[in-house]
Symmetry: C2
Amino acid sequence: MLSGGDDGVPDGIGMARLAWTRLPTADAEGAGPSTSAAAAGDELFSAAAVESLDYEVIENYAYREEQAQRSKFWVPYYVMLKWLFSLLIGVAAGSGIPEIKGYLNGVDTHGILLFRTLVGKIFGSIGSVGGGLALGKEGPLVHTGACIASLLGQGGSAEYHLSSRWVRIFESDRDRRDLVTCGCAAGVAAAFRAPVGGVLFALEEVTSWWRSHLMWRVFFTSAVVAVVVRSAMNWCNSGKCGHFGAGGFIIWDISGGQEDYSYQELFPMAIIGVIGGLLGALFNQLTLYITKWRRTYLHKKGKRVQIFEACLISLVTSTISFVLPLLRKCSPCPQLETNSGIECPHPPGTDGNFVNFYCSKDKEYNDLATIFFNTQDDAIRNLFSAKTFHEYSAQSLITFLVMFYSLAVVTFGTAVPAGQFVPGIMIGSTYGRLVGMFVVKYYKKLNIEEGTYALLGAASFLGGSMRMTVSLCVIMVEITNNLKLLPLIMLVLLVSKAVGDFFNEGLYEEQARLRGIPLLDSRPKQVMRNMNAKDACKNQKVVCLPRVSRVIDIVSVLRTNKHNGFPVVDRGQNGESLVIGLILRSHLLVLLQAKVDFQNSPFPCGPGVLNRHNFSDFVKPASSKGKSIDDIHLTEDELGLYLDLAPFLNPSPYIVPEDMSLAKVYNLFRQLGLRHIFVVPRPSRVVGLITRKDLLLEEDGNTAMAELQSTSVRGLLNGRLLGGNAHLERPLLDNLVIE
Amino acid sequence: MLSGGDDGVPDGIGMARLAWTRLPTADAEGAGPSTSAAAAGDELFSAAAVESLDYEVIENYAYREEQAQRSKFWVPYYVMLKWLFSLLIGVAAGSGIPEIKGYLNGVDTHGILLFRTLVGKIFGSIGSVGGGLALGKEGPLVHTGACIASLLGQGGSAEYHLSSRWVRIFESDRDRRDLVTCGCAAGVAAAFRAPVGGVLFALEEVTSWWRSHLMWRVFFTSAVVAVVVRSAMNWCNSGKCGHFGAGGFIIWDISGGQEDYSYQELFPMAIIGVIGGLLGALFNQLTLYITKWRRTYLHKKGKRVQIFEACLISLVTSTISFVLPLLRKCSPCPQLETNSGIECPHPPGTDGNFVNFYCSKDKEYNDLATIFFNTQDDAIRNLFSAKTFHEYSAQSLITFLVMFYSLAVVTFGTAVPAGQFVPGIMIGSTYGRLVGMFVVKYYKKLNIEEGTYALLGAASFLGGSMRMTVSLCVIMVEITNNLKLLPLIMLVLLVSKAVGDFFNEGLYEEQARLRGIPLLDSRPKQVMRNMNAKDACKNQKVVCLPRVSRVIDIVSVLRTNKHNGFPVVDRGQNGESLVIGLILRSHLLVLLQAKVDFQNSPFPCGPGVLNRHNFSDFVKPASSKGKSIDDIHLTEDELGLYLDLAPFLNPSPYIVPEDMSLAKVYNLFRQLGLRHIFVVPRPSRVVGLITRKDLLLEEDGNTAMAELQSTSVRGLLNGRLLGGNAHLERPLLDNLVIE
């Protein structure tokens, strides 16, 4: 009775002046894209992957574990600890970047920005990285930054009664989204100590809607992060904080390395790019298959299986890290320059190159242990190192590459917080150094260093897997401080991204799709060019609500379908039907729960509605599932009452004519970040044309503009700009109200 | 008779099947923003500032002039030459960046991307920079890049018969716009040898619509530029090309300088930021006033006055550069470290620090001449230099600052190609070094270098004047190769931009406004929130055309108003009027000129229309003024014929209901880069609602999607996807045609 076109609209509405307001609707004026709302009712979205888990809080064993690692006598203990670890943290999952990307694209996966997610992520990440698994800390740090930003944006966590109202300056969805973007940038800036890289990562990889104002904010955030990290490092210089800040502000400084290159080198560099593209695309594909398999067969069997899986992988990782170097023979130490600052083997209690691992003689080192038995940071520093020639044998590098690649593929997707940046750099720098060894051998005359190739390899693998360009480039430069290699990094990235794009999508996009996060690409699909708006909603039954509805009708509409928005129709002056706006399911639920707006008469209500409501009543809390119609209990009497929807609806959602090309509709939807578009019949007349000229207010020396402005100012004085409830006095839709 | 609402539509249209096509309309499906078209008729736009001048081709005197400068004996000759120079080039104006920014925002200033502009810009810039005026080459290089891109995009210059059809792969406005963006990036990348900085400059400062695909293209362009510039520098290493590439790939390498800083230094650095913000804002304001004054009083008097003005400024510049150092006493050479590679005074025939300028003794130098009598590159290198302490006296620095600042303000806006980057760096590094001198004096214990402060000063002035953040930051790092100063540069930029924003807009925005280029900001103005769409077009008289119009009516419509687009109306099945689309003035002019579509009957034409037209007939050539109605001559007979507009119109322009908030309309207009929006009455019913779910085609495992897709495929087979003229067979607007 309420559904279908414009039936069911009661006659005889009118008489009262129409109260009007602007609620925090998803596509409110000037608010741009909406983010936090897409999930509530559409099954497609809320069924996203990250379960809400009860994370356990774990101590920071990372430092203790590193200590343990330093001496070979502690190795069995170390293996045990590793194993224990992953057991404890086996309940926090993934890098979080696909989910954040989805959030900023308009898909709110439940639970990704909660306080408990934050805690689980932080401690889980400390455990998993400290445990020596084949994963990194960058993804979780980005997620951590986003969580903190989101909690700040809503003024704390409502769940744990930690919220404070005074921080709630971020009322609109857009502000919150911007804050989350800043959080992501802060995460990368902190992880790599790369402030500009963080800005670009947030802009290139994470956000879907970019504005120049956002850039400025993100930049500010990153600058603050840079200063704070530096201060912390200065403070920790005396060794108070373990290894933190040990490598200096530039993590893997190779500024002393190769500064020049010849054209002969471009060929092996292109080969590195191709290898990176291939291995990166393969990595994406393998992780996709394994995650699918895992989801289909393994994770259905409950959390115990997940924990067992994480333990198993951790055990395998530990075993491989320990056994493989054992099998490898030690090599005699090379003659090192006295000034290089490198010792072979490095003394116990320090870290660095040339690890002595069960070597029989004093002046020997185990090259495989040099990679396996170091922290990831040190291992990468050694691989990038320009000062050491022929430190690694090809055999060791290949062994490490194969093992670590397999471990990274298998570890990805287990229930531990996992970043892909550092493993990517490890894998890339290994084969890069391998190529470098051959190049050094082949072009003997040139001043080539293996470390340069390791760096390019790292860039190529990340490019081939994540498909970033500018941000990756800047991050690589910021973490290595060798600007002269920039053109080479750019070229390698171009090649590897092109090769990777030939096979599949980027890692984050693939994972987002797998997790059921429906990202809207920036471009419409080809097939849309040949469809029109009507085609897209051909099978829909539009459920309209009359302006003054009976409560029982509203309840039955909400129960019988899962739509998130409903057009509201009314009769115009001549009795013709008119669409007067869109009301959101969530707002209807708020109204039904509040019950204060129920009225006896089937006629529009008078002014004063807004006194009964706070603006914040209608704001959906971030990362909550929202209300459900089943939670609301109404008596028989209440069900018989009426509700005037006019004050609560979005009076002018964007509309498109029914025969508009779907590609155009898509552009509208995607560019403005909308949630609902009304498809309407072709209009019968044009009231006016808006061109650029009409939108250039406040221009000097143009009388037409000035006049336009003055009329608008008159319009304002006529009601809407005046504070308080003055805007209620002037109906916006005069022609809708039958006087 | 044709104007006003939906009057003037002849009855009894119909019978024939409606032919339909997609012309290259400005807001065609999926094409996104339009750029090249905004100018044609709206007076507001085409009256932009850059006159189409006949540039004179000038030889490259820059090198000869530098030679001349090296020895003091040539000074009078040098002054003369400088003077001659500016005379010759006094006919090419400005940096071009505001115009390009306008172009990418949707305002096509006539003449900015022509071949002759390119030639004038290149040679003019060589002349003006070589002539030693207080301006730089970066702005003109950006403009040059944009011109080349635009010419490539249209396959050459039609004007000089240099076009080739096979290059015309860039058919849509959006592709051309993207290409121009790439051109800008290439300009910056080449000017500073800063590829990543170029990408970011294009994205942050120049473009209005940013997409991830664009980033990838711009990045590719920059990478190619980096490789080409490097190759050219290698090739020129032997001295074949004069000074080109003399400084190495990093223009002002200060990587050997200060690497660390203490917290006490943050205060003077903040002061530098504040000074930068103040001086930058003042610079913007002064140039604004002077340009206004110049335009009002000076340039109205003709080109001779402009040339005279340029000559005068050039003469003043030369005189000051020559006389001021003469007045300054020479200082004795300091004790230099033997390894520093600096000689005092530097021998004739080389360039660098410690210039001997009419000094009486051998071991003396003139510090003011060290700044004035070097190329700008060398002067900046000396100011940034970390190896020289107390090289400059405060007196000299202040003298130079005042003189150069005044010269830069006065020179800006003369009729010569002028960039503001290098002058900005000069000004900034001068006061930066000045502050640095005091800091060095005050904090004697710290390892502080004056050059660091010069760099920060340069960043602060550019930040205060141009208000860029990320791109400027990356450019500063790329040109100095000292990544460790990045956090400082970020902080200084934050302060100076904030201080500058307090006073006025950025340089390019101010200049664009002054030149009558109406840039649409990314955010709607506050006043728009309280207006609605109807308010914006309150004073308009909408001029509609009936679907089949008489030629004489079309001509009279085109003559009597200056609108660029006209709604086309028709009668639906039940005789009600329906808006069937938008036809552009430019397309009407093409049709009137071609005359092939004129018909005798007042009924819609049959299929086959498109055989008479090429797609390219309707493409507006870039940077041309377009056709005018006065150029078209029609006989009496022809005026009596009819023209069916249906095949040529844009069938579904974006529409908004009349009471939609103007801020929302603005968002729609700005984000999608539209030219026309129809304001229509509130719709009477909703045909469907489009949500994210409806736009997620090609998703796996979702039957609803699959079904939707299959219906669309059926729809395609039904006519539109089939090649050739098949799409003509199926009327898109069945309901419009009375069968």
